[in-house]
Symmetry: C2
Subunit: 416 residues, 2 copies
């Protein structure tokens, strides 16, 4: 695999991690006391950006390592979720284990954790303890409901953030009261909280390090992130629309109530095509192309408000045409007359798409743990002069793969 | 309104903006050449974090100002979307306007823009031009498909990232081939790209400013962000699962393919309850509570992967129990044994929830432009010692409200 990211997984032969000074967070050390998704996703983004992330796992490993389909006995998602990180094992139930975590945090820029609120304090690793040894330590705490409030001690998983934050209410199918509203399909509330954790953590480091240059300060801060607020932050203008006008946003399915025709239409191969024909000019081109010049010329359909009043009739006409061909054929026909549209890509569509390929959005990464070359999505941010494949320095490591390197080499070098 | 954020909108009487050194990005200046959602959402997050954001608008204003429901003739979403920003107007078609943008960028840390790729270069404001005057300038560019690749010049519309990035495929209802997969209900791909823009921008500033302390470097970089990659980055293990095993992730409705049991279950009163019982310990508590200790002890169900293989059987057992009581009764029973669960909140549920209220997740902000007190969602990140209401310094300003302050005061002060 000449294109694969190199086999330079650090620590496998005691080698130091490959630092890359082209990456913006090169030189930032972050300790992860994380499991499952939210905190590990935050640190994966930081690691993609060049940070040195030390993932602290229990001796049996993060249970997330068991999630998803396996190849050679290994869940392949972890190849991505754990990439660019160092893994060390620590038994938090032992004094020796807690001493190791304190030693790591004493030499780190930041800590990301997603235990239940209060747990770190109970085992003697709360912010006050850690910051007594390292006043610079930024601590980002991710939880379901936040570090205070009446629900703080309730257990929460991602589905709960999506439900309480307002998103699941919006994905219902109008008029289908017997169908459970579908999820987003991914762990969206964990992902959002992880992204906010990464953003606020780096921001806190920027502010701390700026103040350290002669303005006093330079202290680390504690940041409280929760799944519910992370989802709720995306609710656009819905809070004032309810609070000031009493309007409760309702699910809209695949349509928009204020513009027509724009919807998602069924094709002959069972796939769907989203078509946005909702401007006067585009509408006429769309109707001509599907063989309905009568509707293009219909005075009832001359304006958007008229089209909205007859949206069902227009959607039926468009669907009658899309049903006669594959989604790909329909998309090509629409694009030829400059009508905005998009198929709903599944993973095969993504993998075969020439734009995804041209942009190196899918990387082949040699993974010694899986014993195979694993396709990885590229980092979502591209830095000029840094090829996307260079941002995947190594795949998710084995449990405790870097114990010797981190505890015997890294910490001792720092202590010198 | 003694609790409302103060009326200290900067510039209304020529006053300087209220800086808050408790916020981590206080002292970071960011220029926004943005419209609609993605770039303005990035800068809203940066502004919430304390950055000085200068939003550059055409004389008629960002068209987003018209989006959504109105109060007193003003769309209330913009009160949130534009908060904590300074607004200046510039005509990019005039040489005078472009000179102003160059002057702003010459004195800024970073620029966020979401024009079509190539537009800034065509009007003489490309990265090379801007960085010739300010080598430190970090530039985050947000577009539908990215700055290169075969689709770069195709027009992006709202649903593209969601559809091409793989998310819309996953929101279908299994077994309901005649129902179009619903939208997420919010502008999720713009939001994700905006969050990644904010994260990578601050990271680039941290790396630049670290290098400036005597390590050489200190140059600004250009970052390429696109809606499609931003959504695609959340596709978990789906790419290797397809590439290595040929498996194409299919919609799961309210279930998850990688964790079980977690689903949305029907109750006797016709309402839905999301229950997440997908960890070993929680699973056993859940099964005991619904009277199925046999499943709790079943060796097939001992691990998450085993439970995923028998998810249908578990969902049937849970639904058989939830159908015998109201959603409220089921929720109370689940909470009594510490099993995560939630109803699907609409905006009224959010507004009335005691936890949202106790956490100050909804703030009353006096908005002179709307002429009313507008409820705002708090910033999703909380910094110890900074009350959430202090992070909303002022609501979305009028078009060009800060022209005099920015062009006559701010830039001249800096030039001294």
């Amino acid at each position: 695999m000449p294109d694969a990211a190199g086999p330079t997984t650090p620590g496998s032969e005691g080698a130091p991690p490959r630092e890359d000074s082209r990456l913006p967070l090169s030189g930032l050390r972050v300790v992860e006391l994380g499991h499952y998704i939210a905190a590990p996703f935050a640190t994966r983004l930081l690691a993609d950006l060049g940070a040195e992330v030390i993932k602290v796992e229990p001796p049996e490993g993060d249970p997330h390592r068991d999630w998803g389909a396996r190849v050679n006995g290994r869940a392949v998602w972890f190849s991505i979720h754990g990439r660019n990180k160092l893994s060390v094992t620590v038994d938090l139930k032992s004094e020796e284990g807690r001493r190791k975590v304190r030693a790591l945090c004493a030499r780190a820029d930041a800590l990301v954790e997603n235990f239940r609120p209060g747990y770190l304090e109970r085992i003697g690793l709360g912010p006050e303890v850690l910051r007594a040894e390292n006043p610079r330590l930024v601590i980002a705490r991710v939880s379901g409901y936040g570090q205070d409030g009446p629900y703080r001690d309730k257990p929460a998983f991602g589905a709960i953030g999506e439900a309480m934050g307002g998103l699941r209410h919006l994905t219902a199918n109008p008029g289908q009261a017997d169908l459970p509203p579908p999820r987003c399909g991914v762990s969206i509330s964990d992902d959002l909280a992880g992204m906010y954790a990464a953003l606020s953590l780096v921001s806190a480091c920027w502010g701390r390090d700026r103040k350290a240059d002669g303005q006093g300060g330079g202290k680390g801060v504690t940041i409280d992130l929760d799944l519910v607020s992370s989802v709720f932050s995306l609710m656009e203008g819905m809070l004032p629309e309810y609070g000031m006008l009493g309007r409760i946003r309702q699910p809209m399915g695949a349509a928009l109530p204020s513009a027509a025709p724009t919807n998602t239409y069924p094709c002959a191969d069972g796939k769907w095509l989203a078509i946005a024909g909702n401007s006067d000019l585009i509408f006429r081109r769309l109707m001509e192309r599907i063989g309905r010049p009568d509707l293009a010329a219909d005075p009832r359909m001359a304006s958007n408000s008229g089209r909205c009043a007859h949206a069902g009739e227009l959607d039926e006409a468009i669907a009658a045409w899309t049903r006669t061909m594959t989604a790909k054929e329909a998309q090509e026909a629409m694009e030829a007359v400059q009508v905005p549209c998009s198929r709903l890509y599944d993973m095969k569509d993504c993998a075969e798409d020439p734009h995804f390929q041209a942009r190196d959005m899918m990387l082949e990464v040699e993974d010694p743990l899986v014993g195979a070359t694993v396709p990885h999505p590229a980092a979502p941010f591209r830095f000029e002069g840094v090829p996307p494949r260079d941002m995947v320095r190594w795949p998710g490591p084995a449990v405790g793969q870097h114990n010797d390197y981190v505890f015997d080499t890294l910490l001792k070098e720092d202590a010198r």
